[in-house]
């Protein structure tokens, strides 16, 4: 067994959810017809000037707060110079010596153990455009829609030692950014992107090994595969007496392997210098306090509330908060019907089961949180029999029909017509002399059989309490 131990650091790029771009007023929405969301400023025409979007600055401050960073009172912008056809000005406006956020940390859970990951810095920059290569026509086309979309880059300390830890961290950051409302964290669309720095060294070594930087990791699965491949690759090199080269490597989803992109010697000299077009920014305490006050409730706080106020178990609370869409739906549902526990139970059961089965998805729900709340309320208040939840819910998933309408249409309302109940139970007793005998002989468990049969026959039109009372009375004989 190898005694080599991986040390890993992360860079996470996140596109901010501002309405407009970071230095102009173009829409910052994803996609669009190529070059339909750009203007003279973001396409770098001569004479145009960037003007900083204050909302983007607020968002990066929020990113700093949710990751426990210090916020610099004085911050400024620099130019990172390099030629590439997707970068219209041939420099990216970024931040070098004075980023907005410094020295934070994020706690993650791995295998039931908490671990603290240190955040070195987070800075604000502009995204570049996209090139589309047409191999057949031997040509490349540039789409500048993405140019100038605000991007934050978080750099962690090399505090990770496994792919598992890295994935836990990325998931945690996605959750924090989503809750803070600053990024939609869609890795598949590139709104959250990861670079991984990884090196291997003997476990007791004080010095780190030579690192490789892995690019193009657009899913947590890719992160895991790339790290695992890289550990294997570097182990092979070191154990066969070779030397790992400091280089940037690209991960290929199709082969599962990393290949060299460029070596340290080919690294760009970015010739950073302060951008003379954008004056430095100074935050006042009042401004920072206002941004902090604007932060919504974060997942940890929600979880705490669910446990202490709603009495949910920790795993149940985790299961709800771990998906912000589900959690927001839950929040809205309990606003409509203030029975958090009953709604949580339904959502953790039937609701999530249907999602996992692929029968519904949060992005395209046919019904509103208030509709679900109404369903639970109907059951809670004995307007319907809870055994009919599933029947009604399936209708809601399929067509978005309101629970009351489903009950009308399928005649699912509780009638509590005692004579109807009595008639059904009289027939049951008459048809099942043997179980009746057993019950009267003291076999209590056959009561359940009668309950089930009565429920079935009554199609949920009577409440279990009524059925139970009539049954008990009739079975006594």
């Amino acid at each position: 067994m190898s005694n080599l131990y991986p040390t890993i650091g992360l860079e996470i790029h996140a596109e901010l959810l501002t309405k407009s771009k970071v230095f102009c007023t173009c829409s910052a929405e994803f996609g669009g017809e190529p070059n339909s969301r750009c203007c003279p400023v973001c396409s770098g025409l001569p004479g145009t000037l960037p003007v900083l979007n204050r909302t983007a600055v607020e968002y990066i401050v929020k990113a700093g707060y949710v990751t426990n960073c210090e916020i610099s009172r004085f911050t400024k912008w620099d130019r990172k110079n390099y030629f590439y056809p997707d970068l219209p000005k041939a420099y990216q406006i970024s931040q070098m010596p004075r980023p907005v956020c410094l020295n934070g940390y994020v706690d993650i859970m791995v295998n039931g153990k908490e671990k603290r990951i240190r955040v070195n810095r987070i800075h604000l920059e502009e995204d570049a455009g996209k090139l589309v290569h047409d191999e057949a026509a031997r040509s490349s086309l540039a789409d500048y829609n993405r140019c100038g979309i605000p991007l934050i880059e978080m750099v962690t300390e090399p505090d990770f030692h496994s792919a598992e830890e890295v994935v836990a961290y990325v998931e945690k950051i996605k959750l924090l950014y989503k809750y803070a409302g600053i990024c939609d964290c869609k890795m598949e669309q590139g709104s959250l992107r990861c670079d991984v720095n990884i090196s291997l060294a003997p476990k007791d070594s004080k010095e780190l090994g030579t690192r490789a930087e892995l690019k193009n990791l657009n899913s947590t699965k890719a992160i895991t595969r790339a790290i695992e491949y890289e550990i294997y690759r570097q182990t092979e090199i070191i154990e066969s007496g070779g030397k790992v080269l400091q280089e940037t490597r690209r991960f290929s989803d199709s082969t599962g392997e990393t290949t060299a992109l460029r070596s340290k010697e080919d690294a760009h000299d970015y010739r950073y210098f302060p951008d003379p077009d954008i004056p430095p920014m100074i935050f006042t305490e009042e401004e920072l306090a206002a941004i902090k006050a604007d932060l919504p409730e974060l997942p940890e706080q929600r979880k705490e509330r669910y446990m202490s106020q709603y009495g949910l178990a920790e795993t149940d609370a985790d299961n709800i908060i771990n998906d912000k869409d589900i959690c927001d739906f839950y929040e809205d549902a309990i606003k409509a019907y203030d029975k958090p526990k009953a709604i949580a139970n339904f959502m953790l059961g039937e609701f999530m089961r249907r999602i996992n089965l692929g029968e519904m998805s949060m992005g395209s729900l046919q019904f509103a949180p208030a509709d679900l709340a109404r369903l639970i309320e109907l059951g809670d208040t004995d307007k319907i029999n809870k055994n009919n939840y599933k029947t009604i819910f399936v209708e809601m998933i399929g067509t978005g029909e309101k629970p009351d309408a489903v009950c009308d249409r399928l005649d699912l309302w509780v009638k509590d017509d005692t004579s109807a109940v009595e008639a059904v139970i009289d027939k049951l007793i008459a048809d099942n002399p043997k179980p009746v005998e057993q019950y009267r002989a003291g076999e209590q468990k056959v009561f359940g059989f009668f309950m089930g049969q009565a429920n079935k026959a009554l199609k949920g039109q009577a409440t279990p309490n009524t059925i139970k009372a009539v049954l008990e009375q009739k079975l006594k004989g």
């Binding site: 003279p40 145009t48 110079n81 056809p85 219209p88 210098f273």
Partner: protein
């Protein structure tokens, strides 16, 4: 009607009194351009149709009694000011066919007054130079002596004003590019405080130093134009919201008691005696008017040219990187991005521009940044403090604008260092972000104009306009003849 030597202020009165129509004014200048610009080569693009359209719009406004100060005044624009639908070349092959889809904010403000655009005038390529001889399209000549340079980089603007091709012009000034050509061509040129005029739509050379300003026949005209183009702009984060009412508000007021600082370093060996004499004569003229001369020192002047060329070239190297031939401008050839970009830039840029790009990238390179760029920034701070100290005891500063009068075309072609050193008198003003105005204070034995510069406190353009105007009222200019 001869408008060659008329000021914009006088033309305003003539337009308002219907002594002349806006169309007649435009036609007069256009015919002058046709007749004589072949000798001066100041225009790159003459916008005759545009001028007539503008004039008609202006006339309507005049006829309804709603004329603004520049309504119907025919102006020329330096060709680095973006004009919507009109090509803007920066005198570079790189942008030879570039037609911007927007106008500079300063131009928009002129349009709002219904000025008349006569055309776009030549300059040193991307405003890099002091002779207008690096222009790829029109190597402008000095109207006082066409064997001499008009100065630069706003040489086309200064020459067109001096030759009587327009009532006034806009130029831009990064290290003296308004004041020095104004000095060489015997006209008045104002570089406003950094942040006074929006840079939006001015094709950037060195962003922390560039300012747009007027070149005209009088300080008063400079004030009129500055009134129109000044003000904070949401499209330029470096523009400043410093309120003003009228930059000409102090015109004609007594300058008695005003303190004029004479920094000794500006009167050293680098400056020709005939220039020093003319400027000192003007200083004594001011004394006669009751001004007080104060000795002072700007000791960092000896490092100013170096600091200026490091800062301006570093910014230029970055600003000009966008010209890769991909989105607009000259498109080169090649089998890869790199080859194509290289070929575009190699063919599109002239030698001086390439020299500055190399210098700037060198100064910013890792390992050299601390030795060059960082030191230049430190010098900038020192220059600012020295100017602050001078303004503690004086209201304005008086210096020569250039070490010599306009030199012969070709005289500095092979000596860039000599050419750079000639900027000594003007660059510190840009580094410190101060306003300064050049006006003519004499002529040498060959009849070539000599200019002096009056430098003011930040955002105190009114005082330097007043001071320049006071001298102009005592001085009879000798206009050139072509």
């Amino acid at each position: 009607m001869d408008l060659k030597n008329i000021t914009a202020a006088k033309l305003r009165a003539m337009l308002d009194s219907k002594e002349i129509s806006a169309r007649e004014a435009a036609s007069e200048f256009l015919s002058e351009i046709k007749k004589n610009d072949g000798k001066v080569l100041s225009f790159i693009t003459v916008t005759e149709d545009e001028a007539m359209k503008n004039a008609d719009a202006a006339q309507k406004r005049i006829d309804t009694g709603n004329a603004a100060p520049l309504t119907g005044i025919p102006l020329a624009l330096k060709d680095n000011l973006c004009t919507d639908g009109i090509r803007t070349t920066c005198s570079s092959k790189m942008l030879g066919d570039f037609v911007p889809p927007y106008s500079a904010t300063a131009v928009e403000k002129l349009i709002a007054q219904d000025y008349t655009l006569l055309g776009k005038v030549s300059m040193d390529e991307f405003a890099m130079g002091g002779s207008t001889q690096t222009s790829a399209f029109a190597k402008t000549k000095n109207p006082y002596d066409t064997s001499r340079v008009p100065g630069g980089s706003s040489g086309g603007s200064a020459a067109a004003v001096a030759a009587g091709f327009c009532a006034a012009a806009l130029g831009s000034d990064t290290g003296g590019s308004i004041r020095q050509p104004a000095s060489f061509c015997g006209v008045t040129g104002l570089k406003p405080t950094y942040g006074r005029v929006s840079r939006y739509g001015l094709v950037a050379f060195a962003s922390s130093l560039d300012q747009i300003g007027p070149i005209a026949r009088s300080a008063e005209d400079c004030g009129l134009i500055l009134n129109a183009i000044a003000g904070a702009d949401p499209h330029d984060a470096t523009s400043k919201n410093v309120p003003f009412t009228d930059f000409n508000e102090k015109l004609g007021k007594d300058i008695k008691g005003i303190k004029i600082a004479i920094p000794k370093e500006f009167y050293g060996d680098a400056v020709d005696d005939e220039v020093k004499t003319a400027v000192m004569n003007a200083a004594h003229e001011y004394e006669k008017m009751g001004a007080e001369l104060v000795d002072c020192s700007i000791s960092t002047l000896r490092y100013a040219v170096q600091a200026y060329y490091l800062i301006s070239s570093a910014e230029a190297a970055s600003n000009l990187s966008r010209y890769d031939g991909i989105k607009y401008g000259l498109r080169g050839e090649g089998h890869s991005f790199d080859e194509m970009i290289r070929d575009s830039r190699n063919r599109g840029f002239g030698a001086e521009v390439k020299r500055r790009i190399l210098l700037g990238n060198y100064a910013l390179s890792s390992g050299y940044y601390d030795a060059y760029y960082r030191k230049a920034l430190a010098l900038k701070q020192q220059i600012i403090s020295e100017y602050n100290a001078v303004f503690d005891k004086a209201d304005v500063i008086l210096t020569p604008t250039a070490p010599s009068v306009a030199y012969k075309i070709g005289a500095q072609d092979n000596d860039p260092v000599k050419m750079y050193t000639a900027d000594i008198c003007t660059v510190t003003v840009n580094i410190a972000g101060l306003p300064a105005i050049n006006t003519t204070c004499g002529y040498n034995a060959d009849g070539m104009p000599i200019g002096m510069s009056i430098v003011g406190r930040r955002f105190d353009e009114a005082t330097i306009i007043q001071t320049a105007d006071a001298f102009e009222k005592t001085f009879t200019p000798v206009r050139c003849t072509l």
